[in-house]
């Protein structure tokens, strides 16, 4: 079993215009930089992207927005992106905003074979519009559907040929759920290792969820808010 592909270009070769992609990452942390670059290079468009954020003007999904490749963003927070705002206000771009935990849990539902989940977030707000509400034990919940997508694209710290993945620190974020939810899941990793090198007790994403894997190159790992303290 060998799921390794040569590079990002090969990994995304059958992503077509009009498809729906799920992408891991929170802000610019843990995003699949190499695959995003390859999609930009490939030039497909009319994409629907399910991702917690939409990058910044010149990095992350922002690079796809610059090339007008995105038809619709499904996210919880899309600030810090002037081009996004311009396309949204001009009607070139659609956006569906959903609560962050709902986004994470709808992706998890897909990965667990659950068609929909009952969630608290958004009850009594405009997020609830058009959704079934049900009272369980005195609390109201919204019925939220699992996501359906064509590809999931995630970034991990290390991975092996069989697709087993581990993430580093808060770069884990949405990556495990997106990985589980993909019909076809592409993983780019900082370090590709042989099966057996990752401790079987400490693998975050079992390889069964991952269809293609490659070692990425030239990670920039940009920091959005560099906050530091001074040494005494």
């Amino acid at each position: 079993m060998n799921k390794v592909v040569a590079n990002a270009e090969e990994a995304v070769k059958d992503i077509e215009s009009g498809m729906t992609l799920m992408l891991g990452g929170f802000g610019l942390c843990g995003i699949p930089e190499n695959c995003i670059a390859a999609i930009v290079k490939k030039g497909v468009n009319k994409l629907t992207c399910i991702s917690n954020n939409a990058g910044v003007d010149d990095f992350g999904i922002g690079l796809m927005l610059q090339q007008k490749q995105v038809k619709k963003m499904i996210s919880s927070y899309v600030g810090e992106n002037a081009e996004f705002e311009r396309q949204l206000l001009s009607g070139e771009l659609e956006v569906e905003l959903i609560p962050q935990g709902t986004l994470a849990t709808r992706a998890m539902a897909t990965g667990y074979g659950m068609p929909a989940v009952w969630l608290l977030a958004g009850v009594g707000t405009e997020v609830a519009e058009g959704k079934e509400v049900r009272n369980f034990n005195g609390k109201e919940y919204l019925l939220e559907e699992a996501f359906d997508s064509d590809f999931a694209i995630v970034k991990a710290w290390k991975g092996d040929r069989m697709g087993n993945l581990i993430y580093k620190d808060t770069a884990r974020n949405f990556n495990p759920m997106m990985a589980m939810a993909g019909k076809i899941t592409i993983a780019e990793v900082e370090e590709l290792v042989e099966p057996g090198e990752l401790d079987p007790n400490f693998i975050h994403t079992p390889g069964i969820y991952v269809h293609r894997i490659f070692q990425g190159a030239n990670y920039e790992k940009r920091i959005e808010q560099r906050t530091v303290r001074q040494r005494n």
Binding site: L88, Q100, G101, T102, L120, A121, T170, T227, V228
Partner: protein, 218 residues
């Protein structure tokens, strides 16, 4: 004299109890971490996937893979643990977080909160705010009592799109401390030098002054 942002944070820090798991929102809530009382040990949750958030890193030690929900570089502490975002919001939804501190644009006297959207302005999104307010057992809002136009942010009902309903238990503003119960805002503490009359004048929602109302002690 009204409370400064730091003093609002300081006052909220008095609500912390030993062993609490706490989620602090962006803005004034973040400052609460600077005033954790001596002898009290709390664990800070960052909803992007960390329990045990530590201070900012020393210069040169920033790690792009280690950020908080405000996307700031941070550090860990002994006993910290990372997890994915579904687990993070799962623990929030299951009521495992003891205290949540959030900013707000408006709070209503029934506990409704609005803090994510202003009609006519570019909407950036609710992020995790709707999940937090819907699920947390104990939510304190930290905010200014009035907006820039001098209008009350403690209202009979929110005018902006809601983030959550009937969920806020306490509000700490520059003017005082307000519990929310069936009678509306109950003023239990006032900022040093702030009069009850000023609080009454600047609170649009139903207001009750507690019999034992006292000055905020910081």
């Amino acid at each position: 004299m009204a409370l400064t942002k730091e003093q609002i944070a300081q006052r909220i820090a008095q609500e912390l109890q030993d062993g609490f798991y706490v989620n602090l929102g962006i803005g004034i809530p973040t400052l609460v971490a600077n005033y954790i009382p001596e002898g009290i040990s709390v664990v800070l949750q960052s909803e992007n996937g960390l329990l045990g958030m530590g201070p900012f890193p020393y210069e040169g030690e920033e790690d792009a893979d280690l950020i908080n929900a405000g996307k700031q570089t941070i550090t860990t502490l002994p006993g910290s643990v990372f997890f994915d975002s579904a687990t993070s919001f799962g623990m929030i939804r299951a009521g495992k977080v003891d205290l949540t501190v959030l900013g707000a644009m408006e709070v209503a006297d029934n506990g409704d909160i609005a803090n994510w959207k202003i009609p006519g302005k570019m909407v950036k999104g609710m992020g995790g705010a709707m999940d937090l307010v819907a699920a947390a057992k104990n939510i304190i809002v930290a905010m200014q009592h009035t907006n820039r136009a001098g209008e009350s942010k403690l209202l009979p009902q929110c005018t902006l799109p809601l983030t959550g309903v009937n969920c806020i238990t306490k509000v700490v503003t520059d003017l005082g401390v307000f519990e929310i119960n069936d009678d509306g805002f109950r003023c239990v503490e006032y900022a040093p030098g702030v009069t009850i009359e000023e609080i009454k004048a600047k609170t649009a929602g139903r207001l009750v002054i507690a019999d034992d109302v006292k000055e905020v002690a910081i």
